[in-house]
Symmetry: D2
Subunit: 422 residues, 4 copies
């Protein structure tokens, strides 16, 4: 075994996880490619679980980052003012918010997804004076106690070691055969239901960790209407589905809804650096100064790359490109399901956030393992890891995308030839 | 007003805080100095609230970071293996753990202080099967619901919008006139006390946000004994006091105790980049793979600078240097208290984590404001911001330290001449 | 106003409730009749909300009670042994448990419904080591914090003043148009649902306070199967529906299920005296001695009358009689719904636990008020008091039952002649 | 073994407790005496754990009760009006409240101690909008989840099976060697303490179950002042200490304080029948009608005997008599401690609520067991059952009191002769 792998396996807590599926030591990355210490090249269909939508080490961002570091720009600033932060806010307003007719205030809640979720939940409770949050089956929002309490996965919930409180789980779209919102509305409408009108609902438009479940647009629209009817705040957790992953900057744009609070992180910095924002409708921005704080809210390196990354959104070209490539992916997945009935597969997802759920127990994991052997990095998702999940960088060239898809097909073929047992 | 400041004040959530005390736009930083967009120079006695113990943009780390970025080293890796991570783990073991006879497993819980605290609390509950955590008056551990539940500040607690549960607050050292541990032991010893044997106690050896309260070594030793007696895990939250701030790498070294779990963040990366680790006694490392995860656990830029920063600890020189300079600071503070009785001041703290609590309401804030005018950045702390807090970089040259102290004295003199009213 | 009414209205807390609907002072009661201080006679279709299934002051029980008091039998005994308690246990085993092939252990949890519910929840959590309880929409289980946490009514829940925790509400039978158990099973089956496998489900076979909702037998059977499949304890709260109210001693007999834990109170003592038992499958009876206690567990007067009341169940006659009379009631209600379309009524319930839900807002309350004027006591139920609820004593003679039903019809006729407005 | 005892031991849940200490079947009781089925006579120094302060089956109450039952008075009335209830309220106002210059509204919260405690906690939270309750070490308030959350005993708390929340435990008087209120005030005064200003404090003036701890009057007065200073409601749980047990009707009279809410039960009905009231300052009586309800709030048999029992308080005679006899008891206990140093005893308590805490492990239990053999019923208390507890009826004749005390001394003598080992 590699000395480096050895060090990690001996020193790092057993909680480590991805290293178990991708047991090699990576040393270099560019765009959609990664290389390990043996020089083996991989196509990355994982993209840092959605944190690398623009691929690895984008040259334009890299240049600006090195320049900033070189000139001794402020690295760490808490929530003091820096020019890098002002530049980011200006451009985020100009390129993202204004063209979409959004006027959110921007909160820096700490640099990770779970930080933005926690800040959203706290603010929703503060604004409404209510305690409960409605979350949805299959939801994933983070590992700190507040975010974990709205996360569905039972193994992760048990990790809390305490009962998780002040939340109610409702059925996500397509959870059962009939309209799940009938159920939700009945609970809210009936004062004897035992379910209180909540402070907020927290929703992913497409659930990543939960198994690549895409809510229909009209389901999302009805959720927005239900929230309005009862004065419930609508929080869209766009940490994984946002920043282009489903085809638009915000994943909810296509549904035509305007959430009260939006959580962004992962690909926001563009370069894979920790950054998160919580977007808040101005009338809800009633925090006390410092009521929520944190040491790494002012990660200026991330401001610099995030600002550069916004260039992708200055016009429609990037959206169009994502759209074209996502059609390729989708067709490919439909082909797999149709032509490999042994998969017992179902295509899931939207845009670049797609996968196939296989009813054959353990099969998705085997496909991902085989693909890794063949030089493609791909994750599984879902409560039983039943989905293999395609998360290429949005910037991947079409031919390379094609090459990645072929590796997947090759992996499946190989497994079907082998007897599929558990 | 500056256009940049304008952008921030208009776009950022009202939760922003430090910008209110330091209302200028910073553009450059080096060592113990910062410059704003007008070219004004400041001495930094704040150090990113303890995240910049080695000062800003240290040249050695900077060089390694630029080199790493230039060669397209892995930036973001979740918990996959990277050479940068292996290097960090190896050096952390060699330079920090082994020489101190510690054999902790290293968990990457997400890159911020609140992440490491949450992971520590979760693990302690999981290991013991108990639910309660004992925290201490004046404690500060973070803003996510788990960490907030062990934080004392009432304004921040109310920000949760829900009752904070599964914790018991006990009196920190010197909280009242007699030994606070008599009380603690009585509660634990008495099965009718209503206080259950907790999973863990979480302790800061010196409380930063709580008002620069330093626990005596024998108090800490007794805490360790009490924990052992009842099978309670001892968590030292060394996020602010660690990495040299009190004179040694871990703040608890001088007390001769060995915590079960240690939380590190802030200055761990050396360069102000988001990084945190949770150190766990091997026998307690019973996580399920992936039971606690997070997107930014593999912040390789931070691994690179953190590895470089460990050079400071290869021998005793740095500790000695800290010690010498902290004596200067301490003498200065004693001089202030003695010679400016109008302060009604009390010297607090240890090492480079010191301050003066002034009984005159609002006076500490005025001193900090005055010092800012005169080119020195300094924060207040404590439940009523009654403490002005000296947090220079550990690396500050003696003459510059002296210059900073003089600005403080000048600020006080100026205020005493003015009528001190509220 | 009556002096007595005056005293009560001035001295008793504003929380008083039934006195507002029945504003007179009662002084005497016998069987199905009550008299007020003015000598006005009322037919009682309320039966102490199900606590007086055998009517008021039954002569046989009365005789035994007076005899016991006269001879200075033990009145209050905590859980010391008394002959009255032994007699009750013996007869309860002989007349109730054995013939039904049930071998429950009998716990005296305190003398009220909420006491038995609390003990059941505590035991279920203790036995399983799990924290959550699944309750159902429309459920009513009591006013203490544990019981309130499984109660649906939002006004009563808010009365807690704290968030109610460790419970999940699921849809009762007929809550929506499709099978509610599809939802329940999906939530339990999916490890990503956010709903943990609970310690227990607590179910009323017919919901009284929730609006006289009767679950179908096959729904109850499926609930039992679901509980078995996942090792969930099934608690039947038979406080209101038990002791003959639905036609059999236990309300669940007709459904052919055997709960793990049964809660009984209300009519258990027969005479309206406070008494409750928690019936526990022997293998679940793992309490520590004294782990749940209470001052009034040994209410021997209630033991005496409860023992006497069991005579009703020595053979099938009483069940047959209940059945015959309940058919009369049911036919009458169907006639009302059919012949008074202005009611927009729906017949609800089973046995002697029936009512009509009227879609006309406030109408049910008006019917009850009118009936009170005409000498009949009757309650409303449901989240919006939309149901008028017929709860005559099971022992009411047929002609008197008929007379009561006529008063109801007369009340409706009177109201329909009047313009029905709100 | 007795057939009756057999039935109970086989049929009743293992949670049964007192029957284990007093393993015989009681059949008759009068005043301070009980008889078992073998005709053995016992002196009762237990008094139903304080529910029988007037002794068993008092003739005057008995007569009124039989008369009421005979004439078919209302037995069960929920919170409808009855003449028996009006009579009780009138006399309670006339004899108890007015002479003491108290104008409480009377709530019937359900007939047991835990019901009144739950109602008090709910109301305090509702009135203040705060969630926390401060309780005290050694406190005992009941077994339902709300009351259990303010109870100290760890075995009973664990019985909940869930973490008990929204409460903070503070040290009762004499819990440590210095003034415990210094701590309490410091916690409340310091906004960084982690302890929120609570809705209420719940206090027993003398703790029964907690080990017969009597708070000093000036401690209680300071508690009242602290509550006033911070707008905290003061709840006195007088369930065990009230109704004359400490020498006055309310136990807090001698301390000169006026609680905001008072909980009464146990001896309130006089005859051992379930009854409880919650007394509420009029301005705090802001319940919604029916917001807290319960089936057995209208236990009219208990109203009848409670009304009769108030005759004891029509003048000072009863108080004087209690005082005289309690001096006898106290002197006797001091004599025991002085003359039997083997006891390592400490006298505890006030009035008729006294005992001796023995440092010799298990000794108090042995004394109680020996006394039972010799015909005296007496309980132990305290977290480790280290206190033997003298709770004779207040009405016991002096010579019989003396006889009971002699049995205790005899028991001790007998044990000292035997080798005292565990």
């Amino acid at each position: 075994m590699s000395k480096n792998l050895d060090i990690i396996n001996n020193s790092e807590s057993v909680v480590r996880s991805y290293i178990r599926n991708f047991p090699t030591v990576f040393t270099k990355a560019k765009g959609h490619k990664m290389w390990d210490e043996n020089g083996k090249e991989f196509i990355d269909f994982f993209s840092g679980a959605g944190a690398l939508n623009y691929g690895h080490n984008d040259d334009s961002m890299k240049e600006k980052l090195i320049e900033y570091i070189t000139k001794d720009g402020i690295t760490h600033s808490l929530d003091m003012a820096s020019d890098a932060k002002a530049d980011f806010l200006q451009k985020f307003n100009d390129v993202i918010l204004k063209p979409r007719d959004l006027d959110y205030k921007v909160m820096f809640p700490g640099p990770t997804g779970t930080n933005t979720v926690e800040s959203a939940l706290k603010l929703a409770r503060k604004v409404t004076g209510r305690t409960d949050i409605i979350s949805f089956t299959g939801g994933f929002h983070g590992m700190t106690i507040g975010a974990l309490s709205v996360t569905g996965n039972s193994m992760k919930r048990k990790g809390a070691g305490i009962p998780l409180q002040n939340t109610v789980t409702m059925a996500y779209d397509n959870y059962v055969d009939h309209d799940t919102l009938v159920y939700l509305e009945r609970f809210l409408d009936d004062s004897g239901s035992g379910v209180a009108i909540p402070a907020a609902m927290i929703v992913e438009t497409v659930q990543g960790e939960g198994g690549i479940n895409a809510a229909r647009f009209d389901w999302l629209q009805k959720i927005e209407q239900i929230c309005k009817r009862w004065g419930i705040l609508l929080i869209i957790d766009d940490v994984q589905a946002g920043i282009g992953r489903t085809g638009t900057f915000f994943s909810f744009e296509a549904a035509g809804i305007k959430p009260d609070i939006v959580c962004l992180s992962k690909s926001l910095s563009g370069y894979g650096l920790p950054l998160a924002v919580t977007l808040i409708k101005p009338e809800l921005d009633i925090w006390q100064p410092g009521e929520h704080n944190g040491t790494f809210r002012g990660n200026n390196h991330a401001f610099v790359t995030a600002t550069a990354a916004l260039d992708f959104w200055k016009n429609d070209n990037f959206e169009k490109e994502i759209h074209e490539k996502s059609e390729i992916i989708y067709s490919f997945l439909e082909h797999l399901v149709a032509d490999y009935p042994q998969l017992k597969g179902e295509v899931r997802g939207r845009g670049f956030m797609v996968g196939i759920a296989s009813e054959v127990e353990g099969f998705s994991g085997k496909i991902a393992a085989k693909a890794f052997e063949l030089g493609l990095i791909m994750e599984t998702a879902g409560p039983n890891d039943e989905v293999f999940k395609l998360f290429p960088p949005l910037t991947i060239p079409k031919d390379e995308l094609q090459r990645g898809l072929e590796i997947i097909e090759e992996s499946i073929k190989g497994l079907i030839k082998e007897p599929v047992t558990n």
